[in-house]
C-alpha cells in the first residue's frame, strides 16, 4: 500500500484515497476542435512505463484532490520530470 502525500494531512495510506485517473490533456474548447481531436481528448489517457501524473481524492481525509507523479514501474512518488509542464 502506497503512502500518498497530501498537502494538508501529510503522507497517508493509499486506502484513504480514491483513484481519480491519470492526468490527460487539458479539456479543449469543444467548439473549436474537430471530431478526432475531441475523441482523442476523451479516450486517450496517458499510460507510460515510468512517471505518470495522476489524481487521487483524499476521500477519507480532507477531501483534497491531490495531484502526484508516480513511477508506474516502482510505485515511487517522484518529482515531476523535467520535460513536464
Amino acid at each position: 500500500m502506497m503512502l500518498i502525500p497530501c498537502p494538508f494531512c501529510g503522507k497517508r495510506n493509499e486506502s484513504e484515497f480514491i483513484f481519480g485517473g491519470a492526468v490527460g490533456a487539458d479539456r479543449p474548447d469543444p467548439n473549436s476542435v474537430n471530431d478526432a481531436e475531441w475523441v482523442e481528448y476523451l479516450t486517450v489517457a496517458p499510460n507510460p512505463l515510468g512517471p505518470v501524473q495522476e489524481r487521487w481524492w483524499h476521500a477519507r481525509g480532507c477531501s483534497e484532490w491531490v495531484t502526484i507523479w508516480r513511477d508506474t514501474r516502482t510505485h515511487d512518488i517522484v518529482e515531476a520530470p523535467d520535460d513536464s509542464e
Binding site: E14, G20, W38, L42, W57
Partner: protein, 955 residues
C-alpha cells in the same frame, strides 16, 4: 506405544506437562512445547499423509514452514485446513486429520492413482478434460484433488483483529542476525519492531548445538531477548510471521495467539523506515528416486527434532549430502547414541574438517542415493558411487541435505533483485529497491561465525547437485513433493515448449501450493538449467509473491466482518419502521429503508397495492431523508451548475427549483435530480441516493482541478436535513392538520418552489417536488426533530387514512408516471433524447459537460433504443423486468428490453417501461417480449400511465 522416539532428556519441551491429542482418530500424547509434527514423530507415526496427485504415502519431511508433505485439517475450536503439521503448536485436546486421503493415510482408496501414474503426467488435465469444456469435469476433479475444505463455522470463541504500527526499523526474524540487528537499533534509541515466525527466538540456534565464546549459543539468545525486553522502544513479537512486503515499506505481520487471550490472530500493518531482512535460510531437498518415502527427511530437520524436541525419528540413519552442514547433524546424532550407518557425500573430495566431526563413521564420497526401498517407511537405501558400484544399506531414516537457500522471499517481494552465487550455489539478495537490507543467512552468511563474533561453526562448502542422474534410473524423483512434480514432468514441460521457468511452474504446478516450493524450487531451476545447458542465473527464479506462508482469511479480515465491514446508514425513522412491521431493504449507498409495510395477512402485492391506492386516492407519507443533498455557495455557482447540468440552471430565481440531468463529458447520464436556488449565492443540489458520493467526488474534482479559480464551496447536507414527504390528493389537508405558518395555496406556493417556516411547531423547509406524480410536500427538518415529526404526521394523517409508503410502492408510482430510475431506464448507452428528454439538452448554452459528445454521437444517425411504455395485451400478464424484446417475438437479436413492469392500481392492469429500437415512432404498435418458452405481446405507448399532463402534481 507412547513416545518411543523421545529421548530420555533434552529438548526445549516441558516434560511435566503432558498433552493429549488425536490424529486421524487415534489418541497420542506429547509435551508442552511440541508441534503436532514433533509429537507424531515422538510417537513413531511414520505415514502421516497421502500425496496430492498419486496418493503416495508420505511422512514428515521438515520441521517448519518449509514442510512439503504433511498437511492436516484441524477440527473443533481450531478448525482450519491445509496446515503443515510442523507449524501446528500442540495443545491438549487437539484433533487433527490428514488431508487428501480416505479413509486413512495408512489405507487410502485414492492410492490406486499410483498404478495410473504414467498416464497422468504434467498437463494431463489440460490435455484431457478440454472437451466439451473443463467446467464439466472441474467439480469432480476438485473433489478428488483433496485439499481441505474451509471450516463450516467461524471459531465460536475469540476473534481476529488488526493493528497499525510505525517503526524506524523493522527486523524480520529473531535468529542470531536479527537479534543482533535489533539490539543495535534498539540501543541507538530507534523504534524497533522485531517479528519472528517461531514460538521462541533463536532461529537456527534452536535446532543446533552451537556455542558462542565457549558458552551455549542459546544463552546468548536469552540474554539478547532479555535486553530487548527492557527497551521501551522495542516491540518484540514471536509467533509473528512477516508475510508480505508491500510498496513504500509497508510490511504485514501475522501474529498468532497473541497475549494467550481471546484474540486468535492479530494482523499488523507496519510502516517501517528501514527493513532488516534476517529471515535465515531453508534447507533444500536432494532429488533422487523415491525421495518421498516416509522416513526421508531434511537433515537439518532431523537435527532440529533431536535438539529442540528431544525426538529421534529413527534408529539407524543414513545421511546424504553435498555440503558440510549434514556433518554437524551426524555429529549430534552420534552424541545421542544413534547408529549412523553411513554418510553418502556426492562431492568427490570431503573436507577434512567435516570428516573430523564424524571420526567413527563410514563416509562414502562421490556417492549418491540411487533408490529407496520401503513403501510405508524407509527400509534400505541404494548407494551408488561414481565408479558404478552399488550397495544397499539398511536403515529406517534417510536424512538429506541439498544445501541451503537464503530465505529471500521478503527481499524479492520488495522488488529488490537477486543474483546467483556460484560459491554458495544459491540465489542471494543483490540490489535493494526499497530501503531494506538482508543480513545473516538470508544474505548468504550461512555459518554462525560470520554473523556473531565468537561463534563457531563448520565452514559451509557445497558442490551443487540439482538431481541425481543415473543411467537406467527407475522410480519417481520428486522435485516438488507437495504437488507430486517429478523430474520427468519438468522434462515433459520443456519438451512441449514451456521453457521459461514461470511457464514450467504453471504447466507442472511445481513450486505452487502451501509450501510454495521452499525446499524444491531451486532444484526445478537447476533441472531446467541442466536440461537447457545454461547457467542458473539465466534461468532465474519464479516471482516471489506474498504471502510467504499461508495466512488465514480471518487475519486478513480482522474485525471487519458483517455489519462492521460496511455499516448500514439509518434515518431517525428506522425504529418506527421496524416497530410497524416494515420489511427492511437496502436502498442505494447502504441506506436501510422500508420496502413495504405489510398488515395482518397481507402479502407483498397486497401491501403495495394498498400503499399505492392511498397515495393516488388519499394520502401517503415516505421518508425521503437518504436523498443526497449538497449546499453550494459562492459567486460562481451559476456558471458551475450550468456546466455540470445539461439544462439551463442559472436562470432560476431564489425560492424556485428545476429538475436537471448531469452528464459526464463522454455524454453518459451520471445522475438526475432537482436544484433549488435558496438565495442569491446559495443553492441546493439533490442527487439520487446511490450516487451522492460519486457526484460529490465529481463536483469536487472539477472545482479543484479544472476550475480552481471559481468561487464555489460545497457542503454535504444529506444528514443535516431529514424529511417526511406527504403525498396524495389529501396532502394539503394533512399539512393543515399538522399546523404550519406557510400559506400552502397553489397560487402563492406553486410546484417546484420552497418555503421556510414551521410545521407542527418545528422549524422546517417545505419543498414542493414530486416523485410520485401527486401533490407533495417534502417537509425538511433537523434530524433531531425527525422522529417526532414523523409521529405527528402519522397522527395528523390518521383521519385521512394516511399510509406509510415503502420503496416498492415508490417504484410503482414512479413507473406509472414514467419517471426515470437510474439503473433501470438509464445505462451507459442511453442519452436524454432516447428518454424523450431532449428538452433537457440546452441549446442556448455553448458548452456543458457531455454536449459535444452527444452531438457527435447523434450525428452518426444510428438507430437508437428509445423509452416507451408497454401495456401487456393480457392485462393480468406480468412481464419480467429485464426481459428481451425481439422483432415479432422471433428468435432473433433483441430490439430492446423491459426495464420495469408493475401492477398499476389506477389502471387496474400491469404496465411497464421498455427501451425499444425506434420506440418513439412506434406508439400504438405491438412489440413482443420473448421469454424462454413464451412470447408476450405488448402494446407500445407513451411512457406515462397516470396524469399525463401533470395537473395533479401542480395542484
Amino acid at each position: 506405544m507412547t513416545q518411543n522416539n523421545r529421548c530420555a532428556s533434552g529438548g526445549r519441551i516441558d516434560r511435566s506437562r503432558t498433552l493429549r491429542f488425536t490424529f486421524n482418530g487415534k489418541s497420542y500424547e506429547g509435551f508442552e512445547g511440541d508441534t503436532l509434527a514433533s509429537a507424531l514423530l515422538a510417537n513413531d507415526v511414520r505415514v502421516t499423509a497421502r500425496s496430492f496427485k498419486y496418493h503416495r504415502p508420505r511422512g514428515i519431511v521438515g520441521h517448519g514452514p518449509e514442510e512439503p508433505a504433511t498437511l492436516v485439517e484441524l477440527d473443533g475450536e481450531d478448525a482450519s485446513g491445509n496446515r503443515p503439521a510442523t507449524t501446528v503448536p500442540l495443545r491438549d485436546g487437539l484433533s487433527a486429520r490428514s488431508v487428501n486421503c480416505w479413509p486413512s493415510p495408512e489405507f487410502d482408496i485414492g492410492g490406486v492413482n499410483q498404478l495410473l501414474s504414467r498416464f497422468i503426467p504434467a498437463g494431463f488435465y489440460y490435455k484431457t478434460f478440454k472437451w466439451p469444456n473443463w467446467h464439466l469435469f472441474e467439480p469432480s476433479i476438485r473433489k478428488a484433488a483433496g485439499l481441505a475444505a474451509a471450516p463450516a463455522q467461524p471459531p465460536s470463541s475469540g476473534h481476529f483483529e488488526a493493528r497499525h504500527a510505525h517503526a524506524d526499523v523493522l527486523v524480520a526474524g529473531a535468529g542470531p542476525a536479527g537479534l543482533k540487528a535489533a539490539l543495535k537499533a534498539g540501543r541507538a534509541g530507534k523504534r524497533v519492531f522485531l517479528a519472528d515466525e517461531d514460538s521462541e527466538a533463536g532461529g537456527s540456534l534452536l535446532n543446533c548445538d552451537l556455542s558462542i565464546d565457549g558458552q551455549p549459543a542459546m544463552g546468548w539468545v536469552e540474554a539478547a531477548v532479555l535486553e530487548l525486553r527492557g527497551m521501551a522502544n522495542v516491540t518484540h513479537l514471536q509467533n509473528a510471521t512477516v508475510w508480505a512486503y508491500r510498496e513504500h515499506n509497508l510490511l504485514i505481520v501475522n501474529e498468532r495467539n497473541p497475549d494467550q487471550g481471546s484474540i486468535i490472530e492479530r494482523s499488523w500493518r507496519v510502516r517501517a523506515g528501514e527493513v532488516v531482512i534476517a529471515t535465515g535460510a531453508t534447507e533444500r531437498a536432494m532429488v533422487f528416486s523415491n525421495n518421498d518415502r516416509p522416513g526421508v527427511m531434511l537433515a537439518s530437520s532431523v537435527q532440529a527434532y533431536f535438539n529442540r524436541w528431544g525426538v529421534i525419528p529413527g534408529k539407524r540413519v543414513v545421511l546424504f549430502t553435498n555440503n558440510n552442514s549434514a556433518y554437524a547433524v551426524a555429529s549430534d546424532l552420534i552424541a545421542a547414541g544413534v547408529r549412523v550407518e553411513a554418510i553418502l557425500d556426492s562431492r568427490s573430495c570431503v573436507p577434512q574438517a567435516a570428516l573430523e566431526l564424524v571420526p567413527e563413521i563410514t563416509v562414502q564420497s562421490s556417492t549418491v542415493v540411487g533408490d529407496v526401498r520401503g513403501h510405508k517407511g524407509v527400509k534400505a537405501v541404494k548407494a551408488v558411487s561414481s565408479s558404478g558400484s552399488v550397495n544397499w544399506i539398511e536403515c529406517d531414516l534417510l536424512a538429506h541435505s541439498g544445501g541451503w537457500n537464503p530465505t529471500v522471499h521478503l527481499w524479492s517481494q520488495s522488488r529488490s533483485t537477486l543474483r546467483f552465487d556460484e560459491d554458495l550455489a544459491a540465489f542471494l539478495p543483490y540490489q535493494p529497491v526499497q530501503n531494506c537490507t538482508a543480513v545473516g543467512a538470508a544474505a548468504g552468511q550461512l555459518t554462525l561465525d560470520q554473523i556473531i563474533d565468537g561463534g563457531e561453526e563448520l565452514a559451509y562448502e557445497i558442490e551443487p547437485l540439482w538431481r541425481v542422474d543415473l543411467p537406467g534410473q527407475r522410480g519417481k524423483a520428486f522435485l516438488d513433493i507437495q504437488n507430486d512434480v517429478s523430474v520427468s514432468d519438468v522434462h515433459l514441460a520443456l519438451r512441449e515448449g514451456y521453457d521459461n521457468v514461470e511457464h514450467v511452474k504453471r504447466y507442472t504446478t511445481g513450486g505452487m501450493g502451501i509450501d510454495q516450493g521452499k525446499t524444491g524450487n531451486i532444484n526445478i531451476i537447476g533441472t531446467v538449467a541442466m536440461q537447457k545447458g545454461v547457467p542458473l542465473q539465466e534461468v532465474g527464479t519464479t516471482t516471489f509473491r506474498s504471502p510467504y506462508t499461508p495466512v488465514s482469511f480471518g487475519a486478513i479480515g480482522g474485525l471487519r466482518e458483517d455489519s462492521v465491514l460496511f455499516p448500514y446508514r439509518h434515518t431517525p425513522v428506522t425504529q418506527w419502521n421496524k416497530d410497524n412491521g416494515a420489511v427492511m431493504y437496502e436502498a442505494g449507498a447502504r441506506w436501510r429503508r422500508p420496502g413495504y409495510f405489510p398488515q395482518q395477512g397481507e402479502g407483498l402485492q397486497d401491501a403495495v397495492n394498498r400503499e399505492c391506492r392511498a397515495v393516488r386516492e388519499g394520502v401517503g407519507v415516505y421518508d425521503g431523508s437518504p436523498l443526497g443533498t449538497f449546499e453550494l455557495k459562492g459567486r460562481d455557482v451559476p456558471q458551475f451548475l450550468d456546466f455540470i447540468y445539461s439544462n439551463m440552471v442559472s436562470s432560476l430565481t431564489p425560492g424556485n427549483g428545476r429538475y436537471g440531468l448531469m452528464l459526464s463529458d463522454d455524454g453518459l447520464i451520471l445522475d438526475d435530480g432537482v436544484v433549488f436556488r435558496l438565495d442569491e449565492h446559495r443553492w441546493l443540489v439533490s442527487t439520487s441516493t446511490g450516487h451522492a458520493d460519486s457526484i460529490n467526488q465529481h463536483m469536487e474534482k472539477l472545482l479543484q482541478t479544472e476550475f480552481p479559480d471559481w468561487q464555489v464551496m460545497i457542503t454535504t447536507v444529506t444528514s443535516q436535513w431529514n424529511n417526511a414527504t406527504i403525498c396524495g390528493p389529501r396532502a394539503r389537508d394533512v399539512m393543515q392538520a399538522l399546523g404550519t405558518d406557510v400559506d400552502l395555496s397553489p397560487e402563492v406556493f406553486p410546484f417546484m418552489s420552497f418555503r421556510d417556516g414551521t410545521v407542527a411547531g418545528f422549524p422546517a423547509r417545505i419543498v414542493r417536488v414530486s416523485f410520485t406524480g401527486e401533490l407533495s410536500f417534502e417537509v425538511n427538518v433537523a434530524p433531531r426533530h425527525m422522529a417526532e415529526l414523523w409521529a405527528k404526521v402519522i397522527e395528523a394523517g390518521a383521519p385521512f387514512g394516511i399510509q406509510p409508503v415503502g420503496s416498492e410502492s415508490s417504484h410503482v408510482l414512479r413507473v406509472e408516471k414514467g419517471f426515470l430510475s437510474l439503473g433501470h431506464e438509464v445505462d451507459g448507452t442511453v442519452d436524454a433524447y432516447d428518454l424523450g428528454m431532449g428538452w433537457a439538452m440546452s441549446k442556448k448554452k455553448t458548452d456543458y459537460l457531455g454536449k459535444r459528445s452527444i452531438q457527435l454521437r447523434r450525428e452518426g444517425k444510428a438507430t437508437r433504443r428509445e423509452l416507451v411504455g408497454i401495456l401487456p395485451e393480457d392485462h393480468n400478464r406480468q412481464v419480467p423486468e429485464g426481459a428481451p424484446l425481439t422483432p415479432g417475438g422471433r428468435k432473433e437479436a433483441t430490439e430492446g428490453l423491459v426495464t420495469a413492469c408493475v401492477w398499476s392500481v389506477v389502471n387496474d392492469r400491469w404496465v411497464g417501461l421498455a427501451l425499444l429500437k425506434n420506440g418513439h415512432s412506434r406508439h400504438g404498435e405491438i412489440a413482443h417480449v420473448r421469454l424462454k418458452d413464451e412470447v408476450i405481446p405488448v402494446k407500445i405507448t407513451k411512457p406515462v400511465f397516470h396524469d399525463p399532463d401533470g395537473k395533479l402534481l401542480r395542484s
